[in-house]
């Protein structure tokens, strides 16, 4: 596929991520292949080989090494992009904490995929949520266009002097990574103008300005101080993001607020979810509206920092909200549910929250499930009591799993009997 920027092109989420890195004029990409992220680094490699992108790409032996190299290069003074998925993000987890602590302003695209065991290639959000507390900020995308735009926004956010924290841009595996959508490619000069040149700040290793980075501290005092500094920077990132997103909207005509609210103004009910499946919720909202429902959708694009105050504002006075988690914190439940509940705690006009866990390991969320969830919301609002959290799982799916189990049992028995 030959695409020449600018203009509209049919791009996968992976290609959109690669285009964004190219438009941001990244200097360095340490990489390691993992499905479904691989296409991103293959695309970048192709451009580098063809002389279309002046960038150094190094294939490391693991994601742990990849993120170590990424952080080290960023604090030495170059613009760094990298990408991973699932097990790879988990393998790098130790280094995510480290490079965030170095305040290395790099951008990492995560292509969401469920975690072992059992092993799967299909998406859910448990991988990226495991990185929730690392110090990386998180932007969650619902479309391929958003993937491209968010990477550009992420570089601005990461490199801003008031922030200086790395950013994860998340897209759902397969649903976005391998789905072609029309994507508006900005003019390279405009994009470069928006992102600006890389500013290493006070961090860089050179002969004339030596620094020691990532040093030890003695005692909880300085440790708490530096960790809290990171927390404040992450919080400050919210208003910085607003500024950057507004500038982006002026330059490119596309606005990506920290929280997206869809048909919410007069809504009594709302769906709350993030990622590409939220586009399903949007469809469901339209259908339900036609049927006379007053329902909307709230989709946080930023998960870290979480725009708590805005969520409180948006949801104040709603009767009930269905929180749909594409993740499962084992022994607790949905992560988004717990996060939203904590944001709304003690609010006088807080809605009733109903927890649903769905879309695990690539399981689809069909329209009728959204309609069913809406019915549950209505009933809960009438009774004033939220039903217990439930897994979106049908009787047919259960029957299918039982069939698989029966086959596995029969096979085991057959092997035992075999001479």
């Amino acid at each position: 596929m030959k695409v020449t920027a600018p203009g509209r092109a049919l791009l996968t989420g992976n290609a959109a991520a690669a285009w964004a890195a190219r438009l941001a004029r990244v200097d360095y990409v340490p990489a390691f292949p993992i499905t479904p992220q691989t296409e991103i680094i293959e695309t970048l490699t192709g451009w580098i080989d063809a002389g279309e992108l002046d960038c150094r790409l190094v294939t490391m032996e693991s994601e742990h090494a990849m993120v170590a190299a990424a952080g080290a290069a960023a604090v030495t003074g170059v613009r760094v992009f990298t990408a991973t998925s699932s097990q790879g993000l988990l393998y790098a987890l130790e280094m995510l904490y480290a490079v965030a602590g170095w305040r290395a302003p790099l951008v990492l695209v995560n292509v969401s995929r469920g975690l072992a065991a059992p092993i799967t290639l299909e998406p859910d959000h448990n991988d990226v949520l495991a990185a929730r507390d690392t110090g990386f900020l998180q932007i969650h995308c619902a479309t391929c266009q958003e993937v491209l735009d968010s990477v550009l926004l992420a570089f601005r956010l990461a490199e801003d002097r008031r922030v200086r924290l790395p950013v994860i841009v998340n897209q759902d595996g397969f649903y976005l990574s391998f789905t072609r959508e029309p994507v508006e490619l900005p003019h390279p000069e405009t994009a470069a103008g928006f992102v600006g040149p890389f500013d290493p700040g006070s961090l860089r290793f050179t002969a004339s300005a030596p620094i020691s980075q990532g040093v030890a501290v003695l005692g909880g005092g300085p440790y708490s101080y530096f960790r809290y500094e990171m927390h404040l920077a992450a919080q400050a990132a919210l208003s910085v993001y607003d500024e950057i997103a507004a500038e982006f909207a002026t330059k490119f005509g596309r606005h990506h607020p920290a929280v997206e609210a869809y048909r919410l103004e007069d809504a009594e009910f709302a769906f709350y979810m993030m990622g590409s499946f939220a586009t399903r919720a949007q469809e469901a909202v339209d259908c339900l509206r036609q049927a006379g429902w007053r329902i909307g959708l709230v989709r946080p694009r930023l998960l870290r920092p979480l725009p708590d105050a805005r969520l409180r504002e948006l949801l104040a006075g709603k009767k009930a909200v269905a929180v749909i988690d594409q993740n499962l914190s084992l022994g607790k439940g949905g992560v988004l549910f717990a996060e939203l509940a904590s944001a709304l705690y003690g609010q006088p006009q807080a809605p009733l929250l109903v927890s649903f866990v769905g879309g695990l390991g690539g399981r689809d969320l069909p329209p009728e499930e959204f309609f069913a969830m809406a019915e549950v919301l209505k009933a809960a609002a009438q009774e004033g009591v939220a039903p217990p959290p439930r897994l979106l799982f049908t009787a047919e799916e259960l029957a299918e799993v039982q069939k698989l189990r029966a086959i596995a049992g029969a096979e085991r028995a057959r092997l035992k009997e075999a001479p």
């Binding site: 952080g71 290069a73 960023a74």
Partner: protein, 305 residues
């Protein structure tokens, strides 16, 4: 190879680049060797550090380094070195950094990282031909956590996790051979006590580009249990008894730079350290001592033919 012949003996640097007042143990063989090597490399050096004893050299707000220093994690020093090296190359090639601002990138690790957790990262950095110097201070155990055995611990040594009358069950991994099998541009073993040998090797390594190993035996007073004033003597004895062969790998060949002759019995080295005391007390373990001596003899018989 167009090898620049380092001319030693000549005066070694008389002032230390590495600042004083570090929290290292008295008599630390790792600190000794770092002092010597840093002086030879000069201030245009950035150390990329793995978790180990020397992690605690820089404690906020102080640093003893005149150049750069980056703490990564236990398994990640070679990968961190890759990032720093690549970034410097990019900046210099694009004219964003003048060449005189360039730095020698050194991965600094203990044996726990070098022989174990960080070995995959090391192997891959060599395979990628990374231009870096890898300095391992080998104190033959996890030193900063109280000397538990590592993959570099010698057979029969007592550590916090290898007690009992026979000490450590395993055999020291041959990291030098592992490096040599990767065909790096240079690999050498050194010890702080043999400073002229060390200086020649560091000088040689400094003049080369590509993956280079300096593997330094680092006598450890607290872990090996000897008086800190004996660090140099213990280091010398490691060489004289043939336990720590001084050698280098250049152009596919291994050359021994110091062949102990006559070789002192290994006992002379073992007796001086508490970690081997169980070989002599309460009863002399003849069989184990013979085995240890035989290993050393077999090594030298093989390499000197």
């Amino acid at each position: 190879m167009s090898e620049k012949k380092p001319s030693f003996p000549r005066p070694l640097p008389s002032t230390h680049l590495l600042g004083t007042g570090t929290p290292m143990c008295a008599g630390c063989g790792g600190l000794q060797v770092l002092h010597e090597i840093y002086d030879l490399l000069g201030p245009k050096t950035v150390f990329v550090n793995a978790a180990g004893c020397l992690t605690l050299l820089a404690v906020y707000p102080f640093t003893p380094f005149r150049g750069g220093w980056l703490y990564t994690a236990m398994a990640a020093a070679p990968a961190g070195a890759q990032g720093v090296r690549d970034a410097l190359d990019i900046l210099i090639s694009q004219g964003r950094l003048p060449p005189e601002e360039n730095l020698e990138v050194v991965a600094l690790t203990g044996d726990g990282a070098a022989y174990g957790m960080g070995l995959s990262a090391t192997s891959s950095a060599i395979e990628r031909g990374l231009d870096f110097l890898y300095l391992c201070y080998d104190n033959e155990g996890f030193g900063n956590t109280g000397q538990q055995y590592s993959e570099a611990t010698p057979h029969a040594a007592r550590t916090a996790t290898s007690g009992g009358p026979r000490g450590f069950f395993g055999y020291k991994k041959d990291l030098f051979a592992i490096w040599a099998a990767h065909r790096p541009v240079y690999a050498a073993t050194v010890v702080g006590a043999e400073i002229m040998d060390l200086a020649r090797k560091v000088e040689k390594a400094k003049g080369l580009k590509g993956p280079r190993l300096i593997l330094a035996l680092a006598p450890c007073p607290t872990g090996w249990d000897f008086d800190p004033k004996e660090t140099v003597e213990i280091g010398r004895l490691a060489v004289k008894t043939g336990i720590w062969p001084l050698k280098e790998y250049v152009d596919g060949r291994v050359v021994h730079t110091k062949i102990p002759h006559p070789r002192l019995p290994v006992e002379e080295y073992l007796r001086r350290q508490g970690r081997f005391a169980h070989l002599f007390q309460p009863v002399r373990q003849e069989e184990l001592l013979r085995e240890l001596q035989a290993q050393v003899a077999a090594y030298w018989a093989q390499v000197t033919g």
